[in-house]
């Protein structure tokens, strides 16, 4: 049995570890926190995951919360006009549902499942000096530590990284007691609300300890009115402030949230980070090498809700690459090739995400406008969240967008 060490017990580390157990690898996961500590900790994400990622979980019987978690069947776009009304408002229907299971529920459950299925878990906040010796004890060491300090082992890839500063200030609350949007009272949908010059409000139907919930998530332009979290308000003040901002900038969302309450005392989060692409091989002083996975190597802004999806894609690609390697050594060239295989999938996601951080160009506004009367367009926009490489073919490029609009209006006639 080949011996593999995975550092970090998040979406990528645990999905990879659990999927390797299915193929008889000797896998150890090192987690900075125990299941109890993760359960009792702060929310970490809004973690909306689309069909492909959910299917990877089903493939390895990791979909433990599929039943109770709301099935997200649509994805809607609203754009605020200057007078507080909506310039645009529609919802696209997903071919297959998405879901968001609170990582505080999922990761502890997966850690326990990993042990049940024969994986070894060691609780420890790993340092570079630990890794320096540990590379000698394993055939492969994978660093799945998210945006933690260990990323310092992996140099920034200047050619693939676009940003040098955070592009949004993030603010999240998990709440109970909100109705669905009145436009679709029978369907759960992710809502994307853009307020030009200010930022965005996402709302994700999720699942937490106390059951189904809604997760409003502000993405504020730095220096703007949504950039107001540096004083780290306590939970109830945090939620109160989010509500007030909703009332002011997205009043249609405020209407359904004004009576809502936080799901628990750790249900708020604020912060920000710089999107980055890193080199995949980390070098250690003693001559060992480690392979970075998911957020460690590609961390995009969450504006497109792709980080967990990417973590899942990355874990799936790395699993295949490990299996195909057979008994051959996991050397640096294999590590680089493995990452390039993932980058083929992550690159279009990164390109689209970086585009969405900019004010929408004219061709995008034309597409969004046409989508209001044409379900083909809005459904395509919604479903491409599952396969963002599709945006390259019609959404990102002005010429292709024009062509696409011509095509769909012809077939409509």
């Amino acid at each position: 049995m080949r011996k593999i060490l995975i550092v970090g017990a998040g979406q990528a580390g645990l999905q990879l570890g659990l999927s390797l157990l299915d193929h008889d690898y000797d896998v150890t996961v090192m987690s900075a926190r125990t299941p109890e500590e993760i359960r009792g900790g702060r929310v970490m994400s809004t973690q909306a995951m689309f069909h492909t990622a959910l299917q990877y979980e089903r493939d390895h019987k990791l979909n433990l919360w599929e039943e109770p978690a709301p099935a997200i069947e649509g994805l809607g776009v609203s754009i605020a006009a200057s007078d507080g009304s909506r310039a645009l408002d529609w919802v696209g229907v997903l071919d297959n549902y998405a879901q968001s299971v609170d990582q505080r529920v999922k990761m502890p459950g997966w850690l326990e499942l990993f042990e049940d299925r024969g994986g070894k878990v060691v609780f420890h906040g790993v340092t570079t000096s630990d890794l320096d010796s540990l590379t000698r004890h394993y055939e492969l060491v994978v660093v799945a530590a998210g945006k933690g300090e260990l990323v310092q082992l992996f140099g920034r890839d200047a050619e693939r990284s676009v940003h040098t500063e955070p592009q949004r200030v993030l603010s999240v609350s998990y709440v109970h007691g909100a109705e669905r949007r009145p436009e679709h009272p029978d369907m759960d949908a992710v809502r994307f609300n853009a307020v030009p010059g200010v930022g965005e409000l996402f709302v994700i139907p999720g699942y937490t300890f106390s059951g189904p919930c809604e997760i409003p998530f502000f993405e504020g332009l730095p220096g703007g009115p949504l950039d107001c979290w540096s004083d780290r308000p306590g939970p109830s003040e945090h939620w109160g402030r989010m509500l007030e901002l909703m009332r002011q900038y997205v009043p249609w969302e405020y209407e359904r949230f004004k009576g809502a309450e936080l799901t628990d005392g750790q249900a708020t989060l604020s912060g920000g980070y710089t999107p980055v692409v890193r080199h995949p091989v980390g070098e250690l002083p003693s001559g060992g090498a480690v392979l970075g996975v998911a957020d460690v190597v590609v961390a995009n802004d969450p504006i497109t809700g792709q980080g967990s999806n990417n973590a899942s894609r990355c874990a799936a690609v790395y699993r295949d690459s490990i299996l195909e390697r057979g008994d051959q050594p996991f050397d640096r060239q294999w590590m680089r090739d493995t990452f390039e295989r993932y980058w083929e999938r992550a690159e279009p996601v990164t390109r689209w995400t970086n585009a969405m951080l900019q004010p929408p160009p004219e061709h995008v506004m034309n597409l969004f406008g046409a989508a209001e009367s044409n379900p083909v367009i809005r459904n395509r926009f919604a479903n491409a969240f599952d396969d963002p490489s599709d945006y390259d073919d019609w959404f990102l490029d002005p010429k292709l967008a024009e062509e696409y609009l011509r095509q769909v209006s012809e077939t409509e006639e």
Partner: protein, 129 residues
Amino acid sequence: MVIRSDEPGDAPGGREVRSRRVRPYALTGGRTRSRHQLLVETMISVPSYDAEFAETLLPESRSLYENARSPVSLAELSASLSIPLGVIRILVSDLAAEEAVFIHPTGHTYQYDHTILERILDGLNKLSA
């Protein structure tokens, strides 16, 4: 082994507020789960020393195995062997899986903060490095 009961109330340092509601969703297959954690103060020892087995070990595991012939804590092992704590934890857990070392049970009576202890230990290791 340190048995981590799933009762959130028994850990020191304000952890008692943690949610009990999680149990129905934790999906532990119906068995009663005991969680194991190697703390810095956890004691280990070699139940029956085997010189031949020692020969088969990698140098770090081997010195750990030799040093645990009489009961010793993870902290002491890390400090005296100058091996980072994370590596000690891995090696101990591997040796324990082979039943080559025994992990002594610890109570929940410790009143100090483990992360502070770990930081002190890291600091000591850096000084001696």
